[in-house]
């Protein structure tokens, strides 16, 4: 898993394809970092991602449950139209924020 930590914020650079196969590693490593580094904000960076199935939704939902209990937030950035479609369809956009360029 490629990631970057700034203070209590963890940015996860998702791979080109997020499926059950690589979701397992992301979940495992993200949870370890969240716990050890006292992370409160998780940002999923979709900049390189062109495929994601419902396993990816499970990754986001699981990390949200974790972060929510710590009073934090989960964000998605650099999402393509396809990724926004997947996120919206799953209903996960009710619990996470999508940052779009020029939004702020």
């Amino acid at each position: 898993m490629q990631y970057q930590i700034k203070e209590n914020c963890l940015t996860i650079f998702l791979p080109a394809e997020v499926d059950h196969h690589n979701a397992e590693e992301i979940k495992r490593e993200a949870d370890k970092v969240i716990e050890e580094q006292h992370i409160k904000y998780v940002i999923f960076d979709f900049g390189r991602t062109n495929f994601m199935d419902s396993s990816g939704i499970g990754v986001i939902m699981g990390r949200y449950r974790h972060i929510f209990l710590l009073g934090g937030e989960v964000w998605a950035i650099h999402t393509s139209e396809r990724m926004r479609q997947i996120l919206n369809m799953s209903g996960v956009t009710k619990i996470i924020q999508i940052y779009e360029e020029g939004m702020m």
Binding site: D19, H20, K27, D53, S55, I57, G58, V59, M61
Partner: protein, 156 residues
């Protein structure tokens, strides 16, 4: 039913093969001259069905076999895809297909697998016999609204 073209692949129930399965189907589909979005829809549906077989059908055992069959109809616009396993089967198919229903919340499964298949394909049918296995049958017709501009801008 006579098809214009058919293919079948059989592989082990390993998560490494999820990517292989969807890329194989996507490559086979190119002869239908689909737009990128249609290919992405079928890839997602195949990924969901194969993942279900691996996680739920074979419960993580890698010794199981998964068979993916595709048939392109003579009009070259409709593709049928079946994903078959000889796993544990599903007791209650209706319940399994309900959005957010999952037997594996411990694995962070979202319960959206069948919902995604239904959202991205035109038709999805599931046949399952407990103790014998499961077959997911899916159909999609392409070329409804050709979005040439999308294809051109995203294809390179």
């Amino acid at each position: 039913m006579e098809y214009f073209n058919e293919m079948e692949v059989v592989f082990d129930s390993r998560s490494e093969n999820e990517g292989f399965a969807r890329v194989a189907v996507a490559a086979f589909m190119t002869q239908m001259d689909p737009v990128l979005e249609e290919v992405a829809d079928v890839k997602t549906a195949v990924s969901e069905a194969v993942t279900n077989s691996i996680i739920h059908g074979y419960e993580g055992r890698t010794s199981g076999k998964i068979t993916v069959w595709c048939g392109i109809e003579k009009d070259k616009k409709t593709i049928l895809v079946t994903v078959k396993d000889q796993g544990v089967g599903i007791e209650n198919v209706e319940q399994a297909m309900e959005p957010l229903y999952t037997t594996r919340p411990d694995m962070d499964r979202s319960g959206m697998g069948f919902a995604f298949m239904e959202a991205f394909m035109d038709e999805v049918q599931v046949e399952s016999v407990p103790g014998k296995g499961t077959m997911v049958w899916m159909k999609k017709t392409t070329g409804g609204e050709k979005k040439e501009a999308v294809w051109t801008t995203q294809s390179h």
